[in-house]
Symmetry: C2
Subunit: 431 residues, 2 copies
């Protein structure tokens, strides 16, 4: 989805979206009262229903893929969009895994008995209605529905139009499964009409929608953050750095840089920038550049990097200031040699997107300064940036990775889809 | 402060505010690294400095009060604005209390060792730069500075112009005390120039300011929520209900309603609406109305309430739909007799501001439905609405009461002024 324009939203679309939101709100009151057993039964029924409908889902998806191919969508994007029987099975299996996760709702976060005898406790409760605005991959549709239900929230989904037929088929199956379980179909809603206006109407439905989570490219996220009057959680822009300190183990440094950059380039926790301490550059860079050459990494480097790239026949171009702020999501990498840790910290301070920043070092003091002074959702010592992930952290699920400071920071799972309320019980206390 | 207009902000004011914010940001990096001992020493020094400057603060305040009196500000507002030596002492004492509170920064919220040996922990860290936009009372200036420092944040304060001279005097003393402690004066900043534009420039300084908290009337808060591009925490609008259930103890009901309504009328946790179950109305309302008459409560009631008000000579006018949504902040009270708990829940669902909602009942099932089904920051059983308060909850301090669901809900103290970061430590792990 490209950036939404700021001109007038069609009043028909606004009214249609607000009707969906009002119905979702009614459903959310019911969802908030469900027991874990009821929610888990519904999740398993949704998984079974998806499995049973594999054929029609794959057929619907084929329409989207064909339309994409006809309009010249590149193969790697078509691959992200495509669903075969195995992928439908994986999507259904993800719902079963959500059923196996603990229910965040009802958790007592803290509590005490006050001097006057009042008993107070802070309890996790659902947000209410959560909007998701996202791009191509249709598995997000099912993941969001499943995580929403488990956390007691109704969801309103605005997926990319490229997956429109697929998303409609998926949501139809999920809603039927909910209804068959005696639950409100309006727990899961898809905005399939209204184009971009639907997304804009969703993010301005303050009072009806409690939270909007954008997932997608930088343009989409910037637009939602700027235009939304509903509270937003910013996700997933990762200009992640790896800094190889003077005291790094050279082999470990090579492995971590390689893995951070090349394990999967299209994700937000992939490294986009490399900083190497001058004292260790000659020890690390010759090996690293050879590995870059084999992996097809394109180095956007300073002069020192250029010399090493040249020697190892690595694809190279001079680094620009813009490169320092670019989330390439490709095999491109900005790279600089720095004189010391202070210079690395200063560079990261200016260019971090607040996602994940890693140091490779054997020096305790350097590690301690890095984790204390770098301001990001995740600060790593001697580990690949690819570990900043709800699954890797053991959360069992992930709705996105927050790069903002309010409410949730880093991988977001079920607890991050809840709020709290204070329950205060007395026997007539007054002030 | 009345609502801010949406026309162009003066570029000079924008630049001046952004300069303050940039300097605050530099200071915030230093503050984030301070130990608790350093912060507590600074807080005590700030308290001592305020005490030592009592005379000049009282003199500055007299200017504000005189100006207010000259321009016809009512006595009750002048009283909120006024500072004598005793009040300056109380403001200083509040800083000493903040020094005594635990430091939220560095708290390990959760953590684990993953299967691959990675050690992860989620740690509380300061937000960075926190903006406060608020109205008359000058003690908020010192409270915000103290809570900001203790939580490792720089603060930018935009107080009401009615207290302009007082706030300037207070902040000058605080900044000098910080500097004398070797800490950056830019930890505490006051926007004293630029009028309303300064507030608007503050709330649109996204990237420089991490959080804006408005404290004041409904107009101010609505404006900030709508215009801010910096994340906002909504505070303090309380259209709080007390519902007297059929199974209430009548004496307890009278005490709780009276206390909730009349203990202090100008605060957000005062009751503004009364609902009484029809089955207990004849038992409770005659006594309650006599107490209302003595206390000077003005009942905006339905017909049934009108009969009881008439019998007890209570000030009465017919309730309007607008009354149901009004935070009177006075001795006015909207009041209705309802047929059952369902009707009470339905009424509250429509008219709650999400602050505090209380039931008086001896019935376990009714209490359980109330705390489960009412969607508010605090749900109370058999206690006065006046207990929703950071001090009463034992937090030792309060920066405001959040009525939103994101990040913080209910009384906000030191932990709510922090965010978290994930620290991940490995020994070369890659995926």
């Amino acid at each position: 989805m490209s950036p939404l324009s700021t001109d007038q939203i069609s009043p028909d679309v606004v009214e249609a979206v607000r009707t969906v939101a009002r119905n979702a709100r009614v459903a959310s009151r019911r969802l908030a009262l469900l027991t874990r057993a009821e929610k888990d039964a519904a999740l398993l029924a949704m998984a079974d229903a998806l499995h049973a409908a594999t054929e029609q889902i794959v057929a619907a998806n084929a329409e989207d893929v064909q339309r994409g191919r006809d309009s010249g969508v590149p193969d790697n994007l078509l691959d992200r969009l495509g669903l075969d029987a195995a992928r439908v099975g994986a999507v259904a299996e993800a719902l079963r895994q959500v059923a196996g996760l603990p229910d965040p709702v009802g958790e007592v976060v803290r509590g005490s008995t006050l001097a006057n005898g009042l008993q107070i406790r802070q309890i996790r409760v659902p947000m209410g209605v959560v909007g998701m605005i996202y791009e191509a991959r249709p598995n997000v549709t099912v993941d969001a529905a499943g995580l929403g239900l488990k956390s007691g929230n109704a969801v309103i989904l605005r997926g990319g139009s490229a997956a429109g037929v697929t998303n409609a088929a998926l949501v139809r199956v999920l809603r039927e499964a909910l209804q068959a379980q005696g639950l409100p179909a309006d727990a899961v809603n898809l905005l399939s009409e209204g184009g971009r206006d639907a997304g804009r109407a969703l993010m301005t439905a303050r009072g009806l929608v409690d939270l909007v989570i954008p997932r997608g490219g930088a343009d989409l996220i910037r637009t939602v953050v700027q235009e939304s009057t509903v509270p937003v959680i910013e996700t997933g822009i990762g200009n992640c750095h790896v800094y190889v300190d003077a005291a790094a183990d050279p082999d470990m440094a090579v492995d971590i840089v390689l893995n951070s950059k090349t394990h999967r380039t299209s994700v937000c926790n992939a490294a986009e920038a490399l900083l190497v301490h001058a004292d260790i550059a000659d020890q690390v860079l010759p090996v690293l550049m050879r590995r870059f050459t084999q992996a097809g990494v394109v180095v956007h480097g300073d002069e020192a990097m250029g010399r090493h790239a040249h020697a190892a026949d690595t694809a190279y171009q001079p680094v620009t200031e813009q490169d320092d702020d670019t989330e390439f999501l490709s095999l491109d990498l900005s790279a600089r040699v720095v004189p010391d840790l202070d210079a690395a910290l200063a560079h990261v301070q200016v260019h971090t997107s607040g996602h994940t920043e890693a140091i490779v070092t054997g020096d305790r003091a350097a590690a301690r300064r890095w984790v204390t002074e770098v301001d990001a959702a995740a600060v790593l010592v001697n580990a690949s940036t690819r570990f900043t992930d709800g699954g890797e952290f053991g959360f069992g699920a992930e709705i996105g990775i927050s790069t903002q400071k309010l409410h949730a920071r880093g991988p977001m799972a079920l607890p991050e889809l809840t709020t709290t309320k204070w329950v205060v019980e007395g026997d007539g206390q007054v002030r």
